[in-house]
């Protein structure tokens, strides 16, 4: 059957930034570490409209440095989310919240500790991917949604999707983990550790209590530079920069001469304007501790999961290589979960999950259609 879309003024229904505060003392959220955190504020945005049955909600999960502004102008996944796009806001109600530990409106180390009246700094408790998801569950409860149509995210967002599959399987009808892993590997931890060391080696870091004075900008910028290298690929860097020299070079031996140097410096310097160094420390730690297996065997982690799963990886992604996505697929197969897996050809490296949205759109669009119809394909 064919559907006819009549040309309408497709306006993205964006809620703008909203907040939800919960876990007020003495009912604080108990973290996986056993520590308590409260009150907790989550900054979130919604796109599109929730239907009366509340059955069309999709939770978008952001990566390390993302935030709630996933769609609309300057949204970090703008090419995937919107009217007529992969996550079609004409059909679906899309929710995206900044994670706890973040610095873009949700409670994190730069928030004021109600006990002291000063920013938490490194007094903020260690948080995990599981804690991030538990906070999201509270938001979904608050929005009156019993079951999400889907949870979707790349990289750390994918880890949260996996966490939903394991911890709250009855609250999701489908999940789309992209360019992610069941557990962080030593190589992935190593890159994060170099980033953290750069921040902590900055004299302005002051053991995390730098709020109100100079921020550890240099350290955070270096951390971001390392991150950017791991998000690209040999091929994408060669294509983007080659060995081209910068035009406006300064008269100094170690100024940025190559374009790639200029790019990394620019990215690093820009990043410190929008991101908090302590949040970088806390979130990378949460990622490094991520291990959904947690002593369990591969066959049992998704046992009994009714949700449909779409796993996506990218050929040139060496930070989260395809074999790690294939492990996710293997676990799904062992548990008899209805799963689709696609490895998209791309030269963009890990960044591909943000850039190859045309390919992703194809897969996600059809997958969601099947997930919302609740059958396994074929029939029209």
């Amino acid at each position: 059957m064919e559907e006819h879309h009549f040309a309408t003024v497709n306006k993205l229904e964006n809620s703008g930034k909203q907040t939800f505060t919960f876990a007020n003392p003495p009912a604080e959220l108990i973290l996986e570490s056993g520590e308590k955190l409260g009150p907790i504020t989550l900054a979130y945005e919604t796109f599109g409209e929730l239907n009366p049955q509340k059955s069309n909600a999709i939770l978008v999960l952001h990566a390390l440095t993302g935030d709630a502004h996933a769609a609309g102008p300057n949204g970090w996944w703008e090419s995937l989310i919107g009217s007529g796009k992969g996550l079609d806001t004409d059909k679906y109600f899309v929710i995206c919240a900044n994670v706890i530990g973040g610095c873009r409106g949700s409670t994190g180390p730069s928030s004021v500790n109600p006990k002291t009246g000063k920013p938490y700094g490194t007094d903020f408790p260690l948080i995990s991917i599981g804690d991030m998801v538990n906070a999201q569950v509270r938001l979904i409860d608050h929005l009156g949604i019993q079951k999400l149509l889907s949870v979707i995210g790349g990289s750390m967002g994918g880890m949260q999707a996996l966490q939903w599959m394991v911890s709250h399987p009855e609250r999701i009808r489908s999940a789309i983990p992209i360019a992610t892993t069941l557990k962080h590997t030593p190589q992935q931890i190593a890159f994060n550790e170099v980033g953290r060391q750069a921040i902590m080696a900055d004299p302005n870091w002051k053991k995390g209590h730098y709020y109100g004075s100079t921020i550890p900008a240099k350290g955070l910028a270096v951390a971001r530079m390392i991150g950017h290298i791991t998000y690209m690929s040999d091929a994408s860097m060669a294509e983007k920069f080659g060995r081209r020299l910068k035009e406006d070079k300064e008269p100094f031996k170690f100024s940025a001469e190559f374009e790639v140097e200029g790019y990394l410096r620019y990215r690093g310097d820009n990043f410190v304007k929008r991101f908090d160094a302590n949040s970088y420390l806390y979130i990378t730690k949460a990622i490094d501790y991520f291990n959904i297996l947690n002593g369990k065997n591969l066959a049992s982690i998704f046992a009994g999961l009714k949700a449909k799963v779409l796993v996506i990886s990218f050929k040139s992604d060496w930070l989260y290589p395809s074999y790690q996505s294939q492990e996710i697929v293997k676990a799904c197969k062992l548990a008899g979960v209805d799963t689709t897996y696609c490895e998209i050809s791309s030269t963009y490296g890990h960044d591909a999950f943000l850039l190859e949205t045309e390919q992703e759109t194809q897969l996600i669009n059809h997958f969601l259609k099947t997930a919302s119809n609740g059958h396994n394909g074929g029939a029209q």
Binding site: V329, G336, Y341, C342, H366, F367, N376, G377, G378, Q380
Partner: protein, 201 residues
Amino acid sequence: MKQEQVKAEHKIILNWITKDAAVLDLGCGDGKLLALLINERQVRAQGIELDENSIHRCVAQGLSVFQQDIDTGLSEYADNSFDYVILNQTLQQVKKPDFALKEALRVGKKVIVSFPNFVQASARFQIFFKGRVPVTKALPYEWYDTPNLHFLGIADFKDYCKKRNIRIEKSAFIRKNNIVKLFPNLFAEMGLFVCSKQISS
């Protein structure tokens, strides 16, 4: 709904498969067969396919597919986890057909195999009289661009099954979309078989 021309081999396979069965299609291509089986037999379907574009076409039909090389095996699946495993035009293209079929027979209660008959009359004619590797309607590839790695005839497959203790439960043969009843090894362009493990009696 537009009634698409259903291929003869798809019709045969459809008739062999029971309602609500669990089906694994190895090398499912664009997913047409699986979609047909879901519509007509309400099967629980899973496809495996190596080609990325085919994966996209399968997902567009709402199918569940894995992008995977069949030669890496099916170790994640327990014995007899599917009612049918299908190797439709796949067996001759895998690196290790012996291993693929063994794995298929392990995870499936029944295995449906189809392949082009490489020794049918017109192929024999081309080899014998033209002295050329045959290019026919059923085998349209040149030697340098063929995805087919193994060349077998219907008699070869039957010999193989005997040797490996594989029981052939049903078979059908096609030439130009018609059923071949006589001398299939000579006349058929394609052979289709329902196989199962030989239970020693």
